[in-house]
């Protein structure tokens, strides 16, 4: 039996998790390399640590959170 093990997971209302090594560009076009086995990419674009999630989506009004 094998199990689903996706490379990316969209978290409703939150970030996108990505597994493995990647370079992710922030909104200014600067690439940031991943440093951990799983990284959380910000989808609300309000993180203080772009391109990475810092949990800010949790304090946004529901209509401003990513789908």
């Amino acid at each position: 039996m094998s199990f689903d093990h996706p490379d990316a997971i969209l978290c409703p209302g939150g970030p996108m998790l990505i597994r493995g090594n990647h370079a992710v560009e922030d909104p200014d076009g600067v690439p940031h390399g991943t440093t951990r086995p799983v990284s959380a990419v910000c989808r609300c674009l309000k993180s203080s640590k772009l391109p990475w999630c810092d949990g800010t989506h949790k304090v946004l009004p529901a209509d401003l959170r990513p789908a």
Partner: protein, 330 residues
């Protein structure tokens, strides 16, 4: 950096009749006591903490053989039953709001416990932060060690998911990134003793209970759901408060090593909270749906104990502040 900070510790100071006799037994091999009815809570909590530490770091002045001494295990079981009863008494039961993975973050947001991070962010002084660092070190210098006990008790999916998170907690193979080591570096840079248990004599009941609950959940297979629920609640309340801690520490000009510890947790725990809820608890509950109540119990216990600790510290600091103000006026 050579060997690094010390990993050995000595038996702490007793806090009452039970720990007086228990510590004497640990040091000399004399008879192990039982906990009489009416034992003081802090006395019982310290006794249990020390008994759990026999399974973790051990003590320099206690024979390692005592870890599996049946009389000590009997006392431990008695103290654990009392702790479990107390934790269950505080819990109103699981919320009746649908699937754990879909409702968990909203449930956490609805729990409005006090925030020590908010106090450190704007109001705390250096002495208060140093006190917080000392008493929190009982937890932060071991972090996810008690959760590591859970790994062999899980199914394939939840086991792989927990290890994915734990690997990051333990530095992804790099000792310099191991989370409890980052805390030790922050303590040393702040002029504190980073040896494990150095400040146990200062740790209030609330801190002992936090650590004892984690060990209780970690060491008993029947609590595997509670252990992972606790992990999810801990991770889900770490990222945003860590950012406030960072800003508060920068405001008070604490060293970069300590700020780095919290900076790492802003980013790491934004990942870990998603993993803990979705892949770890999510797969656990698909494998063993009957554990859902236990997962909620662990999550509640985590937030409740943190709230109790937060209220204790804020009450202590705010009443000291008002006493100082009264003195100024006089």
């Amino acid at each position: 950096m050579g060997r690094g900070y010390k990993q050995v510790m000595k038996i702490p100071r007793p806090r009452g009749a039970l720990t007086e006799v228990l510590f004497e037994s640990l040091l000399t091999g004399s008879d192990v006591p039982s906990a009489p009815a009416g034992t003081d809570d802090a006395d019982a909590a310290l006794a249990l903490w020390v008994l759990y530490e026999l399974h973790h770091h051990g003590f320099d002045d206690v024979d390692d053989e005592r870890e599996w001494d049946p009389d000590l295990l009997r006392l431990r079981a008695q103290l654990e039953r009392d702790l479990e009863a107390r934790l269950r008494e505080r819990w109103a039961g699981p919320p009746s709001t649908g699937l754990f993975t879909e409702t968990f973050f909203d449930w956490v947001a609805e729990q409005d416990g006090v925030s020590l991070a908010a106090h450190v962010h704007r109001d705390a002084d250096r002495d208060q932060v140093l006190e917080l660092l000392r008493v929190r070190s009982i937890y932060h210098l071991q972090e996810s060690d008690p959760t590591a006990w859970v790994v062999p008790r899980l199914g394939v999916r939840s086991k792989a998911a927990l290890m994915e998170l734990q690997y990051d907690e333990y530095g992804n193979g790099d000792p310099n990134r191991l989370h409890h080591h980052l805390y030790a570096l922050g303590m040393e840079a702040s002029g504190l003793d980073a040896s494990y248990g150095a400040y146990i004599d200062e740790a209030p009941l609330e801190v002992l209970e936090q650590n004892n609950a984690m060990s209780l959940f970690g060491l008993h297979r029947r609590f595997r759901g509670a252990a992972l629920g606790h992990l999810a609640a801990f991770e889900a309340t770490s990222s945003l408060p860590s950012r406030r801690m960072m800003q508060g520490l920068e405001r008070l000009e604490f060293p970069a090593e300590l700020v780095d510890y919290y900076a790492e947790h802003v980013e790491a725990d934004a990942v870990h909270e998603q993993l803990a809820v979705r892949t770890i608890c999510g797969s656990l509950l698909e494998e063993e749906p009957e554990l859902e109540e236990s997962v909620w119990f662990g999550a509640f216990t985590c937030l409740d104990l943190e709230d109790r600790f937060g209220r204790l510290m804020l009450d202590r600091w705010l009443s000291a502040g008002s006493a100082a103000e009264r003195k100024d006026v006089a």
